[in-house]
Amino acid sequence: MGTESYSVIGTRQPLIDGLVKASGEAKFTEDLALPGMLIGKMLGSLYPHAKILNVDHSKALTLRGVKAVVSGVDISGKKYGDFASRRDQNGLTLKARYIGDPIAAVAALDEETALEALDLIRVDYEELPVVFDPEHAMEEGAPLIHEEYQRNIVAYRRFDFGDVEAAFRDSDYVREGRFSSQAISHGVIEPRAALAQYDLSGKLTIWTSTQSPYWIRRDLSLILNIPESKIRVIKPYVGSGFGGKGSLYSYQVAASLLAMKTRKPIKICLSREEEISTTCLRAPMIVYVKTGVKKNGTILAQYVRCLADGGAYASSSVLMMYNSGLTCLIPYRIPNFKYDGYMVYTNKPISGPMRGHGANQPRFAIESQLDMIAEDLNIDPAELRLKNATQAGDTSISGLVFNSCELSKAIKETTKHAEWDKKRGQTGSNRGIGLACGGFVSGARLGGHTASGCYVQVNEDGGVTVTTGSSDIGQGSRTIVAQVAAEELGLSPSDITVLSGDSETTPIDPGTFSSRVTFYSGNATLIAAREVKAQLSQIAAKIMKANANDIVFQDKKVFVRGRVDSYISFAELAKKTEGMGSGRLIIGKGQWAPTNTQFPDRETQYGNVSGAYSFAAQIAEVEVDPETGQVKVLKITIGDDCGTVINLSGAEGQAEGSAAMGIGHALMENIIFGNNGQIMNPSFLDFRIPTARDVNDISVLEVGSPDPTGPYGAKEVGEGLLIATVPAIVNAIYDAVGVRITELPATPEKILEALEKKKKEKYL
């Protein structure tokens, strides 16, 4: 494949909304206000498991300034949830399933009054037996959190490809182990908020901090029992989501209900405590892995079993547990693979999608185990990866088709750049280097996953408006689609206006999750832009008396190939076009979903779930203080295969952000649950995400080659990267001081204890 030379694709493109954000003018949901607006506040359960017998808000309503109170009895619609098969949320619950589970909401003239009113609401609870541990929750006789789910198992996914038992028997070496990953919060800096308005015509409009206006619309329609066409969801600027802001949450239901009841605009903003304790977390997971290899390190078989603590509600359960298994098969060739993935309800806050969506936890386990195998067989861990790395043209045993893959290149380049050979195995230096690989889907299509749509319209002055259904939550999707349109039409991204995130005006789009946006929306924009280009080419051909196929759009000029000097500007062409005939509308329409996917078979799960897969190799270099167990991550080197890079700065930004997030997950982040299932550290002081001083050197190497399906050959970037960071760090710790952490986070306490144990054993 030859390297194309593009004008805009592949450049370092600053965000088209960068200056709006840098000026403080970008409006997030909490910044919005409407005349007559009331403030809403949520009331959460004090008990981890209890029937809500009665919510008496009579006293609250007598407080001056209080306008309305709603609770579970005001819900008239059907339960909702991320997936149709697991709709278990009522918005305002009639049975509390975790401490903080929203029961009621108040609307008042101001926030202080609303808060005071909360204290005046009397809730009669009937406490129920609790269960906090997923293994106990699965036992016969454990309290049922949702009656319909036997043994509290909300999702079970299994794969069984090839014959793992036979392959284990044929293996020269088999290793098995148990690993665990902790609960963490997304740590989005913008707390969630919603501003809802309901007018006399029965139209609900809601501005909210979301990754998916259409999911919000769909689920609001269900729970409020009003048609989708009567609901408009608008996404203002969103302060990141990382997967957690796609689902409908109680506060959005409450804001809508209160707006309907009071017929006044209602704004509800979550506090940081509510953010951490009443929105979803990364699922804590126990992962059991067994891998069989030949003595040269070739993988013959792998069995992975995951037990995810799902918390009180299903959220993305079925997809998450599917992902946990599916993504095991992306980075390496595994000829025999078996997977059992369980998600179990417990009386704790909800586990939901978070960057990597179930892939991170098994990846941590597998990459740790591969390093253990490498050591036992005296093979270099990088060599072991190379030996098994997926190659372009492969199809996995589960039917995943890898049209493009540069994982081997990623491994080779990162090991070279990070001086792998030199830095490995430096005994006594307390420094170590570790490697891990990962990979992810570019949007998974498991069934009926809608396409992405786009309109491109040329304005009279030569400006172009791109209307996309995609949701920019900070990852820069607006800029990506602007780059695509600009590339096609020979313009610069600053000439492009991007409209997005309004369910009433932008084309339907599932939203920002599963790393689908560049892939799907990028392609949709490409199609729409090319349609516009074709229309304009026709006009230009007429004007310049040439063949439409010979028209070139470049540097804001339009000309016949080879005759750049007799050009007309794009703006002139647009003006001329509008004036021709009856004033033509130049609009292109694009709709895209990959056609090279295959919905997984219901029984076997065989199928190609994504149009393309990203790959990554990450190398972490750490320094461990052997007397304290404290770890400093000196450098992270990332080899990123996201196919063609559309925005080089954007891709790097994703990589660097994922490095920081991985440092947090590996070393310092931990949601602590008390004996009553309550989150003990629902603050940014006590739930510790990395600060600028906790992140050091990061190098990003782009190693991708164009993918045949992605727009300009681009694939996802951002999720596959994060998946590899945690095991790279943990492997590096082992290389540094010989301590193998199998339960995250790798705290100084654990490392020091292991070091002390090693010292003792040495003297025995």
Partner: protein, 164 residues
């Protein structure tokens, strides 16, 4: 009991009536309409509410409005000179030091506070000055690059670009 308060915000005098328990963050956002400073946590642990008082970066969510009468308060809205962005703002945009943008106003104000006191900070000093501003998107590297570029007056990311 509301009381009269004279505030000087972004070089402009403001006369408002506030209750004494109102924080500076509440007042600038709700009374004065400056929405740039954000509440990320409300308890002093994230820095999203950072503004400058007499050139010093402080957390407006933990500052009483009545305490800062007659001091010079600068918010993100006060950095640009007319329609000309401050060099810090341009550096942030050019270096892709912004993703979702929520931490950006506070981050820029902390950077500004640093550069007011120290025009040639080292990379470590920049890191320390910004370590009270949490960012979940960027990993901080491009933010520090952006501030560093103002010190060295070159585009650092191009210089260290492994693509070259």
């Amino acid at each position: 009991m509301k009381r009269k308060l004279e505030l000087k915000v972004n070089d402009e005098p403001w006369e408002i009536e506030v209750e004494p328990h109102k924080t500076l963050l509440e007042v600038i956002r709700e009374d004065l309409g400056f929405k740039g400073a954000k509440e990320g946590c409300g308890l002093g642990a994230c820095g999203a509410c950072t503004v400058l008082i007499d050139g010093r970066p402080v957390l407006s969510c933990l500052t009483l409005a009545v305490e800062v009468e007659n001091r010079s308060i600068t918010t993100i809205e006060g950095l640009a000179k007319g329609s000309q962005p401050d060099p810090i703002q341009l550096a942030f945009v050019d270096h892709f030091a912004i993703q979702c943008g929520f931490c950006t106003p506070g981050m820029i104000m902390s950077a500004k506070g640093l550069l007011i006191k120290n025009q040639t900070p080292s990379r470590e000093e920049i890191k320390e000055a910004l370590s009270g501003n949490l960012c979940r998107c960027t990993g901080y590297k491009k933010i520090i690059d952006a501030v560093e570029s103002l010190v060295r007056n070159k585009k650092t990311y191009l210089q260290d670009d492994p693509q070259k």
